[in-house]
């Protein structure tokens, strides 16, 4: 594994509550030089609060936050946002409606004179491809254009850290992928480490160097996308990134018998009753495996989803390729790819 990049943002045992509700509960993580880390999780898991704590928009109650080697919040003392040298992009972009695009981008730039600030703003607008819109007002721009201006405005002051709060959820779905790719390129060119908060697992997989999965105020798992998807630490993480069949079984002598077949388990700490998670796309219909009856099948486009009944009235779903799935009440054999099956202790 290559050396981990030098950390720029460090969260150390962050705790935060709103009244009686605990929003963040003992969170520790880092964002390193040049990295894009996606903080992802279901609504209400505390990811937005974490981002706001990094920005200084919330007063830290417990723990320590440091940015670029300097402690910015600890033990009830917080540096205010204007002194933290972070850039932030908001879900609704928050462009200043009374300022033209060029003035928006110049807003946070501190420099010797207006000319120098303007040059910097023009350069960064060029980088995001919005140079020719410099003299327009935000309300005249489309969603994608506004997002790019918001990005330019946040990057113009050369922040040590970029924070993004669901920056693509305000855009049309078709637009999102191209805007995401463009954003990644711009961030890579600027080299600014980024913490991006999203509720969309697909977005996290697409954009992140590392994914941090949050659940109920804490981290469920942190790692590169391949690791998150291929070796989830819990059923929750597995479920978050795809459809998973959850089956019960008991570990005995290094393997477990699931309703779909035997699976080898080489984790010595696991024994007794366990939950087996098998991704829907791990299942395939063919000659091998266990017998099953088709309950229903739907063609979704890239694949078809087939609902199957196994022995003991256990239902599983399979994503099979092609547009000609079996019909209801057909008898088939279903087997699964052991590489996409995971065993977890029963929660």
């Amino acid at each position: 594994m290559p050396d981990a990049p030098t950390p720029v943002l460090i969260f150390n045992d962050i705790r935060h509550r709103y009244g009686q509700t605990v929003a963040v509960d003992g969170l520790s993580m880092t964002v390193g030089e040049g990295e894009v880390v996606c903080l992802v999780g279901p609504s209400g898991c505390g990811k937005s609060t974490t981002l706001r704590l990094a920005a200084g928009l919330e007063e830290l109650q417990h723990g320590r936050v440091s940015i670029g080697g300097q402690v910015v919040a600890a033990d009830g003392c917080s540096l205010p946002p204007e002194d933290r040298n972070t850039g932030m992009v908001f879900q609704d972009f928050a462009l200043f409606p009374h300022l033209k695009v060029i003035d928006n981008v110049m807003f946070g730039v501190r420099g010797k004179g207006v000319a120098e600030k303007r040059r910097r703003a023009e350069r960064i607008l060029d980088q995001v491809g919005m140079a020719r819109y410099a003299q327009t007002f935000p309300h005249e721009l489309s969603g994608g254009e506004q997002q790019r201006v918001a990005l330019a405005r946040a990057l113009a002051p050369r922040p040590a850290l970029m924070l993004m709060d669901e920056p693509f959820s305000g855009l049309d779905t078709q637009l999102r992928d191209s805007v995401r790719d463009d954003t990644l390129n711009i961030l890579a060119e600027a080299g600014t480490p980024t913490l991006l908060v999203t509720h969309d697992p697909g977005e996290a997989m697409r954009m992140a160097d590392r994914v941090a999965v949050m659940r109920a105020g804490g981290l469920a798992q942190v790692g590169p996308p391949a690791e998150i998807y291929g070796a989830p630490a819990s059923l929750f993480v597995a479920r978050f990134f795809g459809h998973v069949n959850a089956l019960s079984g008991t570990v005995a002598a290094g393997s477990v018998d699931s309703p779909l077949g035997r699976l080898a388990v080489n984790l010595p700490e696991l024994s007794g009753p366990v939950t087996i998670g098998i991704r829907n796309e791990a299942l395939f219909l063919g000659q091998t495996g266990v017998p099953a009856t088709v309950i229903s099948a739907r063609v979704l486009g890239p694949y078809s989803v087939v609902e199957l009944a196994l022995a003991d009235h256990i239902k599983v779903w399979a994503h099979v390729p092609g547009t000609a799935p079996p019909g209801p009440d057909d008898k088939v054999n279903v087997d699964f790819d052991r590489a996409q099956a995971f065993v977890f202790a029963k929660e």
Binding site: S66, C77, L79, E82, Q91
Partner: protein, 557 residues
């Protein structure tokens, strides 16, 4: 992977503490007069409560209650009725009446009182014509209503104050989805039934709020009740304080008035909260207007015409005529001086109010907290406190300070400083700020509320502190709100009478006090230029309010 970064704590600097302290100071300063009145009334230098109770207090209370009842009924009937007609039915002239019905708001009650007294008294043109027509010789030969009475005062006040009820009822009817009324009709309720069982109950909170505003103005009025010799509580304060020289007695009457005020405020706040549940969230297309029968249409037109004629056109015409006929006399009787005084005071108070309100509203937005919001709410009570009570509440601490300081200076330096604060323009300005602060604060509170929080957060992450964000982001976005608030305060200060009369420096008059002096000595013609200016200035908020209702009714309250 290092999780422990360098040691050390960041310096404590949020920059927002100053706002909280400043905000509290402002709120406390504005609440001071009210506290002062309560203090003095509870601990008087001489206790005349028993004497007051035996003699004049009940009379004052009784008259005030009768006045308020009359104005309440009159303003609700006229205000709600015309608002209903104008919003839901179609009749000739409806489009004009929509805005014209608000015109009487521009004319202060005391000016209307002077005009109609001139017109309707024994020696006035109306009675002269009647006597000529019917050959009556003296007052014993016929009956004519005496305008200088409680009844007359009720009519005068109703004519100028019903627009409060009209405006708010109109907003309420506009906000009600027309669908509600259509549903009511399909369920078998005729138009009258729909009005009484559906539309009116739904609009009740707005109607009550409008009515309490009108009643607060009734309590506040001095010019009319003084001229008509109607002994209300305000007149009582003036009488006991100025004529009898008893400040404590005046303060005690003022305390009784505060009791009325508290009840009115409670009623208003209660109904404002209810209004939130009554206002429908969705915006529907406007309902089709009801077609009225030909005779009903005439009645509707007449019903709307009468308030406009009586409340604005007649007074306006007479003032205009007098101003033209007596232009020279008006001008030479020091009109320019008073006009300048009024303009300076009004402009100064408007700017001061807006600045202070901006500070306080922003502080509340930044820090929130029960103490600061509570203090802001107390500071917003000034609009309900009658001018006479306010004047007392200011003169008492100012006078005490002046005496104490003078005493100390004499003892220490042998120099008498005399009156430093009392009887100065500062005292008058302070009264205006306390009384009209609520206007600017309410406008700014809702203006700030319309700015998305992400906008400020963006500015903060881009390196601006709280002050910088206010100046570079909030204020530019609220230019319209600030201007409107300043204008409304400007106009209200120009019309203000009771507090100005009591607090102004010696030989210092505004247009309002000048009109009062000449009007109450039945020489209104000489002050007609002044009166006309006040009315013209008073048209500005009418125009502004009209535009607001047309654009977005929910912004009015």
């Amino acid at each position: 992977m290092q999780l422990d970064a360098t040691q050390g704590r960041p310096r404590r600097l949020s920059g927002e503490g100053g706002w909280q302290v400043g905000g509290l100071l402002i709120a406390c300063a504005i609440a001071l007069p009210i506290v002062a009145v309560a203090w003095l009334a509870v601990l008087p230098s001489e206790n005349i409560w028993p004497h007051l109770f035996e003699t004049v207090l009940w009379g004052y209370i009784d008259t005030t209650l009768r006045l308020m009842l009359g104005v309440a009924i009159g303003s609700v009937v006229i205000g709600v009725g015309t608002a209903w007609l104008v919003t839901t039915t179609e009749f000739p002239g409806r489009r004009v009446f929509q805005w014209a019905l608000m015109l009487p708001l521009a004319v202060p009650t005391y000016i209307v009182a002077y005009v109609y007294t001139d017109l309707l008294e024994f020696a006035g043109p109306v009675q002269i014509v009647l006597r000529a027509m019917f050959g009556w010789q003296s007052a014993r030969d016929y009956w004519f209503p005496e305008i200088r009475s409680v009844g007359g005062a009720i009519v005068m006040m109703t004519l100028t104050l019903y627009p409060y009820v009209y405006l708010l009822s109109r907003v309420a009817f506009l906000e009600q989805a027309g669908v509600t009324r259509e549903v009511s009709r399909t369920l078998g309720a005729g138009p009258w039934q729909t009005f009484f069982r559906v539309a009116l109950p739904l609009a009740r909170p707005a109607v009550v709020v409008g009515m309490t505003l009108a009643l607060m103005e009734t309590l506040n009025d001095f010019g009319t009740v003084d001229f008509f010799a109607v002994r209300t509580l305000t007149a009582g304060v003036f009488n006991v304080w100025l004529t009898m020289g008893n400040v404590s007695g005046g303060a005690q009457i003022a305390l009784v008035m505060l009791g009325f005020v508290v009840l009115l405020i409670m009623l208003e706040r209660l109904e404002r909260r209810r209004r939130r549940y009554h206002a429908l969230a969705t915006r529907h297309r406007r309902a089709v207007r009801q077609r009225l029968g030909a005779r009903t249409q005439c009645a509707a037109t007449a019903a709307c015409l009468v308030p406009v004629i009586l409340g604005f056109l007649i007074p306006g015409a007479i003032l205009l005529r007098n101003a033209v006929l007596f232009a020279e006399e008006s001008w030479s009787s020091r009109f320019p001086d008073f006009a300048i005084n009024s303009l300076l005071l009004a402009g100064g108070a408007a700017i001061l109010c807006v600045v202070l309100a901006t500070f306080l509203a922003y502080a509340v937005r930044l820090r929130g907290g029960a103490v600061l919001s509570g203090a802001a709410r107390v500071a917003s009570l000034g609009y309900a406190v009658p001018g006479a009570v306010l004047a007392l509440g200011i003169l008492i601490p100012f006078g005490a300070f002046d005496n104490a300081f003078d005493g100390w200076m004499r003892n220490t330096f042998g120099v008498s400083t005399g009156l430093l604060l009392s009887g100065t323009v500062a005292a008058v300005m302070f009264a205006y700020v306390v009384r009209f602060f609520a206007l600017s604060y309410g406008a700014l509170e809702s203006g700030l509320g319309r700015i998305k929080p992400s906008m400020e957060m963006a500015a903060r992450t881009l390196g601006e502190g709280p002050a910088g964000t206010l100046f570079r982001v909030h204020l530019p976005l609220m230019k319209g709100t600030l201007l409107t608030a300043a204008l409304l305060i400007f106009v209200d200060v120009m019309k203000e009478l009771p507090a100005t009369l009591l607090l102004r420096p010696f030989n210092f008059d505004t247009l309002a006090t000048y009109v009062y002096q000449y009007g109450s000595s039945e020489q209104l013609e000489l002050a007609s230029l002044g009166a006309l200016s006040i009315v013209l200035v008073g048209l500005v908020p009418v125009i502004l309010l009209n535009r607001t209702v047309a654009r977005d009714p929910s912004e009015v309250i």
